[in-house]
């Protein structure tokens, strides 16, 4: 059993939270560059150019990529051999508050009803934490994901009946394409779209956020049927022509990611989760020997 003490873990958390707000994941940069190459609308091309340049400047100047930090979720995978000697949520909360004080994160967390701002990005339930278990790994790992909230405004959750699912899942495809058309420029396209299908409503919602938060946007789904579905949905979404910033263009989505769980025979819950182009997703893997590696996706 290896024990990571509180101080060591806090330092790792601080570094990862800072990295995840001052840079975007390299896979997203790759996709933005090819979107730039493929873009035919000159104004949209100009927006893509600004996005790529902005992401580079954020790293060079050690500044947040976007003025809005979005909302933080931490995905952690534990195992039996490595233990962290601290309350994980409190450690990340402390790191977030510290980086807010240093001017890397705008204080943006408020009471949901009174709208009163805590002033330091602390608050009940923040950051959200999702815990996983990976007994075979010789490491523990986590991803910090700050997802923007313009994108959240476009999200759709629905429980379909078996009839509404339709032949070959046409009802699911319709729901996704309608969500994209209605969203227009609101979710800061080019977007990544996470689709969670199955379980109950909370399962679908959880899977939809995971889909765009713990996978590299350039990866392929290990399930060949879902990989094919992701490819076809991406093609259909981009044929709608919403384009960068919503002003029309060739790339509306950089990727579509689908995660699935089996559900009850009466229902098909589905959640459509938009992620803006600002892929603030960075994490760390801490090995049994104590070495640390920075990562942009969780091991599946």
């Amino acid at each position: 059993m290896r024990v990571i003490d509180r101080k060591t873990f806090y330092e790792i958390a601080l570094e990862v939270v800072k990295r995840s707000c001052t840079r975007i994941a390299p896979d997203a940069i790759t996709l933005l560059r090819s979107a730039y190459e493929n873009e035919k609308n000159p104004a949209a091309k100009r927006l893509l150019e600004a996005m790529i340049r902005n992401a580079e400047l954020a790293v060079e100047e050690d500044k947040p990529v976007c003025q809005s930090p979005g909302y933080p979720v931490i995905y952690i995978n534990f195992n039996d051999d490595i233990r962290i000697e601290a309350d994980i949520q409190k450690i990340f909360q402390k790191a977030i508050v510290e980086l807010t004080k240093q001017g890397y994160l705008r204080p943006s967390i408020v009471h949901p009803i009174t709208r009163s701002n805590t002033g330091d990005n602390s608050g009940v339930g923040v950051p959200d934490i999702e815990i996983g278990y990976n007994p075979e790994a010789d490491f523990i790992e986590f991803i910090v994901s700050f997802k923007g909230c313009g994108a959240e405004l476009a999200n759709v959750v629905k429980v379909l009946t078996p009839f509404q699912v339709g032949r070959g899942g046409i009802g699911i495809k319709r729901l996704i394409l309608e969500a994209v058309a209605n969203a227009g420029g609101v979710p800061c396209p080019p977007v990544a779209i996470g689709v969670g299908i199955g379980g109950q409503v909370h399962t679908a919602a959880r899977l939809s956020r995971r889909a765009v938060s713990i996978r590299e946007w350039t990866d392929a789904n290990p399930d060949p049927e879902l990989a094919e579905l992701e490819r076809r949905l991406l093609e259909a979404v981009n044929s709608l022509g919403i384009g960068p910033g919503g002003i029309g263009g060739n790339t509306t989505a950089l990727t579509v990611k689908v995660e699935m769980a089996y559900t009850h025979t009466a229902i098909c819950p589905i959640a459509i989760n938009f992620h803006c182009w600002v892929a603030r997703r960075c994490g760390a893997r801490i090995y049994h020997d104590g070495s640390i590696q920075y990562i942009y996706a969780l091991h599946r």
Binding site: P42, A43, R46, L47, A50, M51, R53, N54, L57, A58, E61, K63, P64, V65, C66, Q67, S68, G103, Y104, L105, R106, P107, S108, V110, R115, S116, N117, G119, G148, C149, G150, L153, I170, K173, R174, L177, E178, V180, A181, G184, G185, V186, P187, C188, A236, S239, L240, G241, I242, G243, G245, G246, I247, G248, C276, W277, V278
Partner: protein, 197 residues
Amino acid sequence: MAREVRLSTPLRCEDVVDLNIGDVVYLSGIVYTARDLAHIRIMDYLREGKSPPEDFRGAALFHAGPVVRRKGDMWEVVGVGPTTSMRMEPFSETVLGRLGVKAIIGKGGMGENTLNALKRYCGVYLLSPPGCSVILSKAVRRVLRVHWLDLGIPEAIWVLEVELLGPLIVAMDSHGNSIFREVRERALTTLSRILRE
């Protein structure tokens, strides 16, 4: 053909009517940030017969909340960029009509109420590159004033002096044209074709 235009505040109707969707604007002068809570309080003030903290006639209103650092008595803008304008759709009539704002800067676009008000009161909606706060903040010379900090840093009204803020794309003009409406109509046509296939 799309043009590139440099404008300075305060904006006049003749500055605005010249602009057509697709044109690119670089703006100098003063911009006022305002998000949901500032709009709600302005509405409350007007209802109660009180004056808002600034005269917005000819103003550029930026749907944004900056990242700021305290530097002695001064505020330094670390980053500033657009927030989702659609949330402010219910306030367009007041903002453009009663307050006299001439340019709304934001992202994601706005709806039919705003498009009608832009036409009626001679205004323009400018799209700024979403998520690009490092680039946009380079245009900020200094923070002149801030109002209503009790609403929280993002929701306060920040009065910013800017030089060549941009690129800002004219996405809704004063002649009733909206890039967003055109894009949406095309998308819905394509959607019904895809679903028939």
